[in-house]
Chain length 258, copies 3
């Protein structure tokens, strides 16, 4: 099983994703390549980090996850490959890998410096194709992560808002708006009991209750549900919650129990 995933801000309009796959398949012809998404807003490291962290654990053991949201390409930022108990992660050392790595048991962090595993010549503007793709393909074929470059103790951690437990609830915030307009919070599903009558507030304004699924409320009404990404999300049954309730990334929300 040779499986590589790609999470990038390359878009699908130009040839950037295609050439990245061409380079991979030139090295690892039997690799299956799965697109997580290529529509991360250009340079938005946090959005890329969240997509990768939400998706990576649904792939089989041994998968090589590549994330390239890389506004610092060609500059001083390092490139890394990280082996965990379950996966490999490859990308710039700018925080884009860190929320995914926080879910994993780290085994080795390597700085990508061995140019034998790069495409030659390496451009200054497209390391996705010239460094991350060939490195991922070599890992996929069984090359040891130790051959890629020197060990590194740490990697850059993305600052990520943490929820706060309160006497009567949890304070958190909106961290992602998905394409349906659902507002995903940083409050984990685990420990939430929708049967316990939980209420969701935006500041002091009550938004909705926590229920089990979207259709627990009438069409057009707001509801919060334990989301499929592992976090509580605020939705509108049959509608767009972000637009309807005016929610955006960074909005402070809280859950209160009765």
């Amino acid at each position: 099983m040779q499986l590589i995933t790609l999470t990038t801000d390359f878009g699908t309009r130009d040839w950037f994703v295609g050439t990245t796959k061409g380079v991979i398949l030139g090295i690892a012809p039997r690799a299956a390549i799965v697109d997580i998404t290529h529509e991360i807003p250009a340079g938005d490291i946090r959005a890329g980090a969240f997509a990768l962290a939400a998706a990576c654990r649904f792939f089989p053991k041994g998968t090589v996850h590549v994330a390239v949201v890389d506004p610092g390409v060609g500059g001083a930022r390092k490139a890394i490959a990280v082996q965990t108990a379950n996966y490999f992660f490859v990308g710039p050392d700018n925080g884009v890998l860190s929320p995914a790595l926080a879910q994993e048991k780290i085994k080795s962090v390597r700085r990508l410096e061995n140019t034998d595993y790069f495409l030659q010549p390496v451009s200054h503007t497209f390391h996705g194709r010239d460094i991350f793709a060939p490195v991922a393909a070599h890992l996929c074929r069984g090359t040891s992560v130790r051959k890629l470059g020197p060990a590194q103790k740490d990697f850059i951690l993305l600052s990520w808002p943490q929820p706060h437990l309160q006497p009567n609830g949890i304070k958190g915030e909106v961290v992602f708006i998905d394409r349906f307009g659902n507002a995903i919070t940083n409050i984990e599903n685990i420990g939430l009991n929708p049967l316990g009558r939980l209420e969701v507030f935006l500041g002091h304004k009550r938004l909705c209750s926590v229920r089990t699924f979207y259709q627990s409320v009438r069409v057009g009404q707001a509801v919060a549900v334990p989301g499929s990404s592992g976090f509580l999300e605020i939705a509108v049954n049959g509608g767009n919650a972000a637009r309807r309730l005016g929610l955006k990334i960074g909005d402070r929300v809280s859950i209160r129990w009765h």
Copy 2:
């Protein structure tokens, strides 16, 4: 040959399609997965049904077709797998499969109730990933459809406008606008003879003649052609017919012969 197609309203902006594929490849590592489209408007069962029905017959025998346009996810609607003489179809029992199934000889309809073939735990909001993907992967690997759950006699039929034969022509309507702006009708190509001077009307207004291909008329002019989806479509050579002629889904059109 292990082939799975996906027709959904998940979009490609988030990680929903990627995780669905990760689940499939964890169960059926050698499956080839083809995207029909993920850009069905959110919850638009008719658009998803049309895309699946237009595409499914171009795939080799044994293909597993998965369609997830599922506004009722987590609620009372059933989930089904249908074996036909040529294919398997997997999705919610809400009509999204029915126009495709109308082209096929049905052999077995099963309600998806055997949780051994689901991803655990099953979320309440993402059955595409947690139920339909793993079931499709198991079918792809050769699991009998009979193991998935109890037999069901029927499935929900999507109401679909039927064309009417008239003494001097056929009355139909626009059922889909494609991305080029071509207006696809519910009037089948079969039986139309473009050489026989057929005229197309919108209400009482003459739009164009039926010809063989787009360039039968000058650039900027309207023309109707037997479309590649099997239905008559109204186009503008080098232009966008829907915008240019003000056509939209549901518009009554008729063909008259001389």
Copy 3:
């Protein structure tokens, strides 16, 4: 290794790409199919030609490249397959293949006339699915290009603006705007030495210097870099150069050295 790439204006909203892949996999079940892009503007032969030319050389030897930007489908234009020293190219003979072919050593040009290798019946509006896809699949499986139809000496050349060497620099023009807003010129990287203090002008107005990578200048500032597609491109660090500097395809730009 059986690898097919697709460069089209089909979009991903409808089922056109999916059915094309279904036809390929029905003939060549083990083919890997890579999308270069399907978002070429409808009928824009030049944009399709540029994408294919920028991408094709990153694929392994033996790859079958299919390009379908085909406003003349069903009309008088010919369909061709071209074998080069490294690849096969399949598409309409309307110029869309020619910039890619200009990089290659041509071995054989064949007109697609042997209907044994077509899908039957052939529609008049979708040769991507009915002619180019099955022909590519057969080539991928090892069918000789000679079986596809009669030899043809030439193919249609797309007129493409050539840069002009001047006493103090090079005159060229913008030929593509990528999704990040980078303006790609027709001036090749080869021979440019970013260390030699090159200045880029739009008409008589100085835009920026040529440097090695985007972050050579401060965020928000313009810079020209040797681009990953092989041509000089004008960018804004962290921004959209086309919008910020008002650049569009066809704009005359020049490089001057000190």
